[in-house]
Amino acid sequence: MTVLDPQNPTSITDPVLLEKSFETISSLSNAAGTQAIAAAPQKTSFFSFTFRAISELRFVKFALASFVINNLRRRYQRSVLGFAWSLLNPLLMMIVLTSVFSLLFHRDPRTYSIYVFTGMLPWTFISESISTGSLSITAAENFMKKVYIPKIFFPLVAVCTESINFALSLVSMMFLALFVGLKLHLTLLLLPFAMVITFFFTFGIVLALAVSTVYFRDLTHLVRVILQSFFYFIPIIYPLSAVPEKYAIYFQLNPFTYFINLYRELIFYGQFPTRHEWAIPIGLTAVTLFIGFYILMKREKDIIFRL
């Protein structure tokens, strides 16, 4: 315990105290820094930062689980069917859409609806995660000022919550697919792998946006508009082949297309995606994760003061 402030006369009025503080200073320097938890800004490499940010999560793994469970529970709280809604909700929505498609389009409504859903469900996951996740740090302001919690906690909670919904709606879709007589292929076994890639890809975007939203609060409106328009710029309700050739290049530049393509191959076409079709989403995931963690690294110590 020590007092030492040369600039401030009040602390050096007492000579005994001053002497004591020098003693403490010297003892401090001996014991200094075996495991500093919060140090002054110092150069850390990107990888050591990312490693630390992720390993910090082990202290909050139980909190992560309970936040996700509570989020899901709250959604269907006080409803008679309770958690069954998380299966029923997407199922009912898909049944409605299937009936609408069969009225509107002159395609085989049954297979067409599954085609649409294989694109729509991953897109719903990505866009919902982004729209709730990008606000997650700002929304948790009161929390973060009162307890220490790693900054990536709330973005992660948002994406985890949505990914469970996503998994459940995929299950509902399987039921629907069986019902309309679509064959389930062996390629479904690779679906978890595709979901893991999509999860991390989305998490990278969410992390970057959640940190940026702290600095630019109106980013959220921009994000919402972009997400809405993307629904039409991604081949979800139409096949890529329906796009006029001169515009096709722009659609191929859209990163989301490659993720949706994975699900379509695995579920709808029952084909193993080519090496190329795997490599692009994995590469994009690395890019978004890098951007997300890089932005966090640059801003981590500043965020709390900006909330």
Partner: protein, 266 residues
């Protein structure tokens, strides 16, 4: 493992933004109107060159006026606010009793909140399962424990929060002005439990405006003033110093208010 806290020359700087959440538009406009930029941020040092070294057995009282940086010091030790200069080294599990009830989900029942709050303190479901009965018994919420906590009175809310926070014997205990809510009976019980926590913890830092409490519970004290540790020593000396130098200094025109307080305490 013995708990220890070392803070070396730590300074914490707050930046107050006139517009705390600038939009994209403002940021864009600012690029062209550079002259306004400087006025938008005011900085002040909430803590300046703080040095502390605590070991097992230390019971530190922190006294100072409102806004002196007492709570901020605790929050810096927990890791909420990173210092812009200096080092903080903490060894041992910290139990912050800073803002009890943080993280309560008002839609969930008291029982569910026990698990949620425990999870925030890093406890697993299994660990909380073992403590659950004890927490429920201590809070005396009985069958109310299964109601959503939005139906709780503030007293019940406080009791639950206290019971969860106080159930685990910490290595490092940080306390900020919590002296339990509730009726006289619960306050007595809680005070008793706090004494237990005090004696079972290796290191305690107590922030309090109750100077008698600091004198009774702590074995050393610091006086914080405008973010600087202006004096340190035995609790009794520090309380006297605080009343004489700081309180008096800050309220020279109101001696009548200060006088009875200091006379009752000395």
């Amino acid at each position: 493992m013995s708990a220890e806290i070392d803070i070396t020359n730590a300074s914490l700087r707050f930046r107050i933004y006139r517009n705390p959440s600038p939009g994209l538009k403002e940021t864009f406009v600012q690029q062209f109107t550079q002259k306004h930029k400087a006025q938008l941020v005011t900085e002040f040092d909430a803590l300046k060159d703080v040095n502390l070294s605590l070991r097992g057995g230390d019971r530190l009282g922190v006294i100072g006026l409102n806004g002196a940086g007492k709570s901020t010091l605790l929050k810096m030790i927990v890791g909420i606010y990173p210092p812009y200069a200096g080092q903080i080294h903490v060894q041992g599990k910290i139990t912050p009793m800073i803002e009890l009830g943080t993280g309560f989900d008002h839609e969930l029942s008291g029982r569910e909140n026990i698990y949620l709050n425990g999870a925030l303190l890093g406890r697993s479901y299994k660990q909380m399962k073992q403590l659950e009965a004890e927490i429920v018994a201590f809070s005396e919420l009985d069958e109310m424990i299964d109601l959503p906590i939005k139906y709780y009175s503030s007293g019940m809310h406080g009791r639950l929060a206290f019971s969860i926070g106080a159930i685990i014997d910490p290595e490092i205990l940080l306390m900020d002005e919590i002296f339990a809510a509730g009726d006289a009976h619960f306050v007595q019980k809680a005070t008793h439990r706090l004494m237990e926590l005090f004696s079972n913890s290796q290191i305690v830092i107590l922030v309090s405006h109750d100077l008698e409490q600091v004198k009774a519970l702590c074995n050393q004290a610091i006086v914080l003033h405008k973010g600087i540790i202006v004096n340190e020593g035995s609790p009794k000396e520090m309380v006297d110093y605080y009343l004489k130098e700081i309180v008096h200094l800050e309220t020279p025109e109101l001696p009548s208010l200060v006088q009875p307080m200091s006379s009752s305490l000395s």
